[in-house]
Symmetry: C2
Subunit: 552 residues, 2 copies
């Protein structure tokens, strides 16, 4: 008898950054790998977060056996609370990831889920699948990739990874295990494409460490390091350097406090007793014996770092001998906000170190030579690039072809594409419903393109409300036109605007047949058009016109 | 008698990218160097462009003798139409810059200004100043820096420049002239700080040329190059390569057509007769004999390139053997829009070449080693970094100090600072009014922070208008509450929202003292607060509430 076929369906993260989520399906069982969110794009006004469309999982609810998480970044776990509300299945992940997940589920009031801790090189049987977890190095603690033994063969999913020879054994990508997968025979490799455009290797962690050490050595005052709360490997390095400097350490910010406590609890991070002090006590120590860890490295406007830079932080005022280190990437879209913080800190006289001028950060995602190494170790029959915009997938596909994977064995899928593996090979055939669901406040999915278009229009030139009350019998104006505006200037210099706009409305009324049964609709439409043209002509602006025509 | 003192006042561009404008003042005469705009920042919703605050020039209108332009980029000439409306003085610039300016002034209906053409190494006497124009290499045609002989000594203003040894004599930065300034003795150097964070030298133009040639050689179909219309040096290179390929050339886009025609007229660009064809004729030639030049390299949504990528261009459909070259920088803020175009082109099967994967672009601004060379050639007594965010100015200042300019001779000014030079030296003392003026449609300066805040609020969760008509005598509700919304969902799933909101409004009415003379104001405020709390509690959204309470 033939083995049961296998379906791999990316529901997010393929052709975009964020929303990572992949379905593995065989013998009527589904394992979901990751459930990530995406932060809203510029045009998604007012949206809090974006999550993948779960339609396929909803429709196949009875098949879903488990969710497996590779690591605790939001683009891999952020949609989990929403997913678990729909399909309450066990969640498999390493302890640090689970700790972060537990916190998130509590915040979001999701009833206690079944959280199953796993360890690298450990195997878990889930339905027809046997999953092995494999340590990968990434800019987070306790990340893993997966070896998924399926009825069709072994599929390797790298998770987010890079290969850094400098990190200590426990945190390094487990090359030996990936190599053994290769020896066993890999049906398909699903690999992180984020940096498929970047030549060479990621900067070594030792190199970054040396640069950071030089910055620490040169600093004559307080050192303030801003980074991502989950970047435990980087935090561990900073703690070590603070130790050498004989400095006290302040951990400032709720998310950072949580992740540091979790990492300590799990033995991923060790802070000597007495080293950590409260932010309130910071002035009790000499400046050159203080290291402060905080968040806000992406220029988030409400973060501690932004408040320090703006001079509005409740405790920390910038001092001339302070050294600020922004130990993360200038993520596109955040560049201007980050630069604003750098400029403010400089203008207050502090020293500022950031990735544009100093190698104090390294990406958590493999560059091209590392991607090649992964391909060479696993030697897959099929290759499927994941985790990237389309351009990244294209470049990763070309790279795989340069490593000897024939064009028919490169599976350049789109979200929702069904990649089928059976005895005769693999092909993309058919697709399932997929997409992006916008979360705005408590509403999940009710904000769509038409609402966004309305918000866009409002954002550009505001709104003008015009109220007009007519006598229901005679059609005579009883009150108005009365104007109210928001985001639109009926100001002093344009004082005549208001009077003229009233005239425009009254002129429109004269053109309408007051005997028509739909006269209110007619007036509404005509008033909207007339005011639109009027404002456009007079002041070249296009406020949203909201006529309210009432008959009393 | 002592020489007359000199004031240098940056009115824009110092501590920001854009708005470049510097005042030189001596003996009651002012020369304004550049009058640039800034494109609106993210929070400046609905704003078209930003220009500097001209208050100082308005107040000293009688002193203003001339505007001198270094080159034709918008951040150097974009505010000129607005400035000339206030102070109608002669404009000095090189012919290509003047050609671009003339076009702009006509577009903006500014009465014919007096445009004075100048040539490199030519001197112009303006009041107490004698200005010499010096060729600089930049990503535009006909750019110059300035040697300004003032009563206090020679001030060198670099304009936007880089030093590229690969470009031909006429377009290369005139190092000999800058060196001679140095020999004569330079009082102060004002130098472009844009790339003061970038180590080394800009990529050479030959290097870029070789990479572009390799791309041309590899292309087996049409080649579509997107670039800035004013980048005549790059256009000249593309024309040469198209010539070698024996291709026809299409110039698509109004701004590109204009600048190419202007450059040809002035001998800056030569396109062989018969080579240029109309876009409509493009299908009459084999694909590999067609090169199309267009704009839209910054992902501008209405550009030809964006329409091609979206499949909505009236003439050009993407073909699988097309090669698209985005020959410009991914400017921060535009990265996502540009990446969107790259992704679309890839997904339609075309080849796409862009700066992230290929050295097909080089900055027009000097890197650190070039900035050092400028410092070494001119050997100024004082150094003033211009043209950059504060972080760039800081790094440029440090660079100058590393080149032997003492800390008291580095003038790190802010916009509006008055830098005074007299017999005893230079110092920053006092400041004049400066700032950013927002242009929105025909309104100049009427949109300020309060309007922007209103637009921001509207953009996030839309607006809810609630109209209520009361009997003027009894206070009884005659009509309403009637709701109208925009950018806010009173949708099916939240159908009860509307009814409940009406109840909230009616409950509020019961709490108001109907005998109070200010009852309408009280009702308005209470309705606003009550609905705000209600929506926030029920759905966690904060629409702008616009109550219209009328008494009839």
């Amino acid at each position: 008898m033939d083995s049961s076929p296998l379906k791999i369906i990316p529901l997010g993260g393929v052709g975009e950054i964020g929303l990572n989520m992949t379905v593995f399906e065989a013998e009527d069982a589904i394992v979901v790998v990751d459930a990530g969110l995406m932060f809203p794009e510029d045009h998604m006004l007012g949206v809090d977060i974006v999550i993948p469309d779960f339609s396929y999982l909803r429709e196949n609810r009875h098949k879903v056996a488990a969710v497996v998480l590779t690591h605790s970044h939001e683009d891999h776990i952020g949609a989990l609370p929403f997913l678990l509300r729909e399909v309450n299945v066990p969640v498999y992940a390493t302890p640090f990831t689970l700790g972060m997940v537990k916190n998130k589920l509590e915040e979001k009031n999701v009833p206690r889920a079944s959280l199953v801790p796993v360890a690298p090189r450990q195997k878990e049987k889930i339905g027809p699948f046997s999953l092995e977890f494999v340590r990968v190095c990434h800019s987070v603690a306790d990340g893993v990739g997966l070896g998924i033994y399926t009825p069709q063969g072994l599929v390797v999913h790298t998770g987010d990874f890079k290969i850094s020879h400098g990190v200590s054994g426990d945190h390094a990508t487990d090359l030996a295990r990936f190599a053994r997968f290769g020896e066993e025979g890999v049906l398909a490799l699903l690999s992180d494409s984020t940096n498929a455009e970047k030549e060479g290797y990621t900067l070594s962690e030792e190199g970054v460490g040396q640069v950071l050490e030089a910055v620490f050595d040169a600093a004559c005052g307080r050192i303030i390091v801003a980074l991502f709360a989950s970047n435990i490997p980087r935090i561990a390095r900073i703690v070590d350097m603070a130790k050498k400097r004989k400095s006290r350490l302040v951990i400032s910010g709720r998310s950072l406090e949580f992740s540091v406590a979790l990492a300590q609890e799990q033995g991923l991070l060790s802070i000597p007793r007495g080293m950590e002090i409260d932010l309130e006590a910071v002035d009790d120590y000499p400046d050159n014996k203080v290291v402060i860890l905080t968040t806000g490295s992406q220029g988030e406007p409400m973060s501690a770092l932004a408040r320090i830079a703006a001079g509005t932080h409740k405790k920390i005022r910038v001092k001339k001998n302070d050294t600020y280190i922004l130990s993360s990437k200038f993520i596109p879209g955040n560049e201007k906000a980050i630069a604003g913080i750098v400029n403010s800190l400089f203008s207050r006289g502090a020293e500022v170190i950031y990735e544009k001028i100093s190698d104090i950060h390294v990406s958590g995602h493999a560059f091209r030579e590392e991607l090649k190494l992964m391909l060479q170790l696993t030697r897959p029959r099929y290759f499927m690039p994941i985790h990237g915009e389309y351009r990244h997938l294209v470049h990763h596909s070309r790279l795989a072809r340069s490593q000897g994977i024939g064009p028919d064995r490169v599976l350049l899928a789109k979200n929702g594409d069904v990649v089928r593996f059976n005895g005769t090979g693999a092909r993309i055939s058919g697709s399932v419903e997929t997409g992006r669901v916008l979360v705005d406040g408590k509403g999940v999915g009710d904000v769509g393109n038409s609402v966004l278009r309305e918000r866009r229009a409002l954002s550009e030139h505001g709104a003008v409300v015009v109220v007009l009350i007519l006598d229901a019998e005679t059609g005579v104006v009883m009150h108005g036109p009365r104007f109210t505006s928001q985001g639109f200037v009926f100001g002093i210099e344009t004082g005549h605007l208001l009077d003229d706009a009233a005239c425009v409305v009254l002129e429109v009324l004269e053109e309408v047949d007051m005997a028509a049964p739909d006269r209110v609709e007619r007036i509404t439409a005509k008033v909207r058009n007339a005011l639109r043209s009027y404002f456009s002509f007079v002041i070249q602006r296009r406020p949203v016109i909201l006529p309210v025509i009432l008959e009393v």
